[in-house]
Symmetry: D2
Subunit: 228 residues, 4 copies
C-alpha cells in the first residue's frame, strides 16, 4: 500500500484491550474492513505489535502500529523497529499517544524514520499548544486528545470544543497541509459529526468501538456520520 490516505478518516486504536487482542483483533479488524468497504470512509486499525501480522493478512484496510521507537536496526532489545512493523504489514504508526509519550527529540526522530520507511505518521497531542509544536515537525496526521476525557464517553467535541477549534487554529498557523483528527470520549455518530464540523478531518477512537456491544454497528454509525 502506497503512502496515501483520504479523508474523512476513522482510526480505531485497539490498545491492549482483551476484546482486541489476538483472534479478537482479527475479528474486529474484519468488522472495520466491512465498514470501510460499505461506506468508502477511510477506516484504519491499530492493533498490538504481536497482532499486526495476523490482522494485516486478514484485511485490506490500513493497519497501524501503536508506537515505534526512534531507532535504526541494531542492539535495541525490547524496542519496536519501524522495519519490523512494516514487514509485518503496517502502513503507518501512532506516535506519542498520551499512554506512550515520547521526548520531543524522539518525536522528531520517529517522524523522520516514518518518512524514510514510507510509513504514515499519526502524532498524538494533548492540547492545542502541543498540537502546534507537533505540526512544525510535519507529520502526516495529528490527533488531539485531551487525556482526561479518554475512555470516559464524554466526547471532546462536546465537552471541550475549544480544544478542537484551538488545535485547528494553531496548527493551521504553522502547517496548512497536515490532516487533523480529534479523539477522546467519542461513542456516537453525532460526536463524529461534531468533530468534523469543528474543523477536523476525522477521529481517533478506542473504547467507543472496541468496548461497544456491537462494534460493527457503532463504527458504521460513525462512518455514516463522517460521510455527510
Amino acid at each position: 500500500m502506497p503512502k496515501k490516505f483520504k479523508t474523512p478518516m476513522i482510526i480505531v486504536n485497539f490498545k491492549t484491550y482483551s476484546e482486541a487482542t489476538g483472534r479478537n483483533a482479527v475479528e474486529l479488524a474484519k468488522k472495520a474492513e466491512r465498514v470501510n468497504d460499505e461506506t468508502s470512509v477511510y477506516v484504519g486499525v491499530a492493533p498490538q505489535f504481536a497482532d499486526i501480522a495476523a490482522v494485516a493478512k486478514a484485511v485490506k484496510i490500513p493497519v497501524f502500529a501503536q508506537h515505534i521507537d526512534p531507532i535504526k536496526p541494531g542492539s535495541f532489545t525490547g524496542h519496536v523497529l519501524a522495519e519490523s512493523v512494516k514487514e509485518a504489514g503496517a502502513v503507518g504508526t501512532l506516535i506519542n499517544h498520551s499512554e506512550r509519550q515520547l521526548k520531543l527529540s524522539d518525536i522528531n526522530e520517529t517522524i523522520a524514520i516514518t518518512r524514510e520507511q514510507e510509513l504514515l505518521s499519526i502524532v498524538c497531542a494533548n492540547d492545542p499548544n502541543v498540537s502546534a509544536a507537533v505540526a512544525t515537525l510535519k507529520p502526516d496526521i495529528i490527533a488531539v486528545e485531551p487525556p482526561e476525557l479518554i475512555g470516559t464517553g464524554i466526547p471532546v467535541s462536546k465537552a471541550k470544543p475549544e480544544v478542537v477549534t484551538g488545535t485547528v487554529r494553531l496548527v493551521r498557523e504553522v502547517n496548512s497541509e497536515v490532516t487533523i483528527l480529534c479523539g477522546a470520549g467519542i461513542t456516537r455518530g453525532e460526536d463524529v459529526k461534531a468533530a468534523l464540523k469543528l474543523g477536523t478531518q476525522g477521529v481517533l477512537v478506542a473504547s467507543g468501538i472496541v468496548k461497544a456491544k456491537d462494534p460493527y454497528t457503532v463504527l458504521r454509525e460513525f462512518a455514516e456520520a463522517a460521510k455527510k
Copy 2:
C-alpha cells in the same frame, strides 16, 4: 507448550538486528531449530514482537518475547501485553534486559504476570548483586550480562569470570532453584563451555549468532560445547 524447559540452554536474542527481522527472523529461527533438533540442547529464540507470530508458526522450538509490560488488559496504547505475545506463540519472555531496563517494582509485577500466564521468565541482571536481588523474586531463569561487554566479542566467561561466579554464589544464597545463564561477548564454543564450567546452565547470546557469517555453524558449535 507447557511451562517446562531443560538445560543446558542457549537463548538467541534477535534484538532489532536487520539480520533477524521479518523473513530473516524466520530463517534464523529455522537454523536454531535445526541445532535444537540435532543436539538436543534447549535452543530458544527471542524475536521482535511483530515477528513472534511468524516465527512461532515456522518452528517448534521455544519462542520468547524480548520484553512485556507489567500490565493487565486495558488502556495501554503502545505497550506489550503478556496475553498478546502468548497468543502469538511465545512461551516466555526476557525481562529487564540491559537495553530495556525496568523499575524494581515493575520487574516484580512482570514476573507475577508471567506466572499467571504460565510464561517462562528470563530476567536479566548486570552484576552479581542485581542478580541476587532478582533471585529473591523467584523468576524461572536469571541471565547475568555485564553491559560493557555486550556486542564486543570479549566473552564474559573469560574477561570477567568473577561476575559469573559471583552471580552463581550470591544467587544460590537466596535461591537454590533458579536457572542461571550468562551472556555478553560470547562468539565461540569455548566461551560457552567456560560459562558452564563457571556454574551456569547456559548462555544468552545475540550478535555472536545473529551477526555471524554462518549462524547455523556457530550455533551448532555452541550447542556441542554446551553438551559436553
Copy 3:
C-alpha cells in the same frame, strides 16, 4: 555527622508540599528538632533539594535528600549528585520512593554511591517481595510503603499489617542487619505503635505530619508512641 543512627526512628518526608517548602521547610524542621531533643527518638527530615542547605543550617537533626542520581561528578545537567547534597548538609537520602522509582541496577549503583560518600541509605519498597530484593543490596534502612495507602490516612499498620509482617519476615531471611521502617497512612501515635509491634524499627511519614494542623503535637505523639 558520622554515618550512625539509632532506633526507633521517625523520618518526615517533606515531598513538594507548600507547607514544607522554603521558609516553611525550615520551620517544620525546627519542630522536628524539638521533638527529637525532647524525646530522644531519632527524628530525621527529608526536604527538597533546594531547601537542604537552609534546613541543615537551621537544625542539628539528620537531614536527608529525597533522591540522588546514580552518577559521579560530570555532565549530568539537572541531576542530583551525592556530593552536592552532602556538602549542602544531608547525611543520607531516600532512594526509590514510590513517587521517584528507579531501575533495579540504578538502585544498586545508588546504594554503592551512598557507601562511598558515607551517606545513610533509606531505600523504599512497595511490598514484601520488593523489600526482600532490596535487602540483598544491603542498604542501611528499608522503608516499605504500599503506594495505594500513601496520603490516605488509612494506616498500613492497620489496613495491611500483612505487608509489614511479610516484609519483616522476607527481609530477615536474607538480611539480619538492615533497619526496617514502614509508612503510608500514618496519622496517629497508635499507628506508630502498631508499626513497631509488627516488627519495624520506625516509620516514614509525610502528609500525616506535614499537613497536620499542629505538626509539632502530632510528631510528639508519634515519638512518645515510638518510645514505649
Copy 4:
C-alpha cells in the same frame, strides 16, 4: 529580580561537575559576576539544585535551576518544584537539556509553570526542527545544542553552522520574539563571536568555562567577544 533580561547573554551551566559543586559553585559564580559587572554582558549561572541558595546569596547575577518538574505543590517526592528553586533564589530555569529531556507535553506544562511563577524559561533543543517546535510554545529563550558536540571543544558555530542558522530561520518563521542561544563545544571568544554572527543572541556554555584552567579569563574573553 523581575522577569527581565538583556542580550547578548552568556549562561554557564554548572552541570554536576566537581569544579562547580558546593563551595566551588559559589566561587565560580563570583567569577561570573565579576565578568558580568566588568563587561555589562548578561552572564547567568545554572548551579545544581542544592547549591542554588548559597550561590544566589553570594552573587547578584541571575541564577538558574538546571531543571524543574511540571508539577504543582503536592506528593512528588524527589521532584523539583518551581516554587522551591524560586524561593532559594533562582530567577529562571533550563528546561529539556539534552541530558535531562522531557516529554513534549511536559515541556509545554513546564513553560506554563515558569510563566505563573515569573521565572525565565531557557528551553534546550537538539536541532532546528526541535527548536521550531519549542518556539511555538513561546518560552523566553531557546538554546540549540547538537548533543554530539557537547563537551568536545569542537564549536557548533564552526562545525555545524547550519544547525545554528537553520534554527534561527525555522524559529523565526513561527516566533519573532524568542531569544536564541546556541551551545556545544564553545571554548574561545571567537566561537562566541561566530555564534552571534550566525544570528543568535548569546551562548549556553558548560565545560568550556567550568573545566577551564582559568574560568574568569575565558569567560571574560567570551564576554568581550559577545560585546563587539
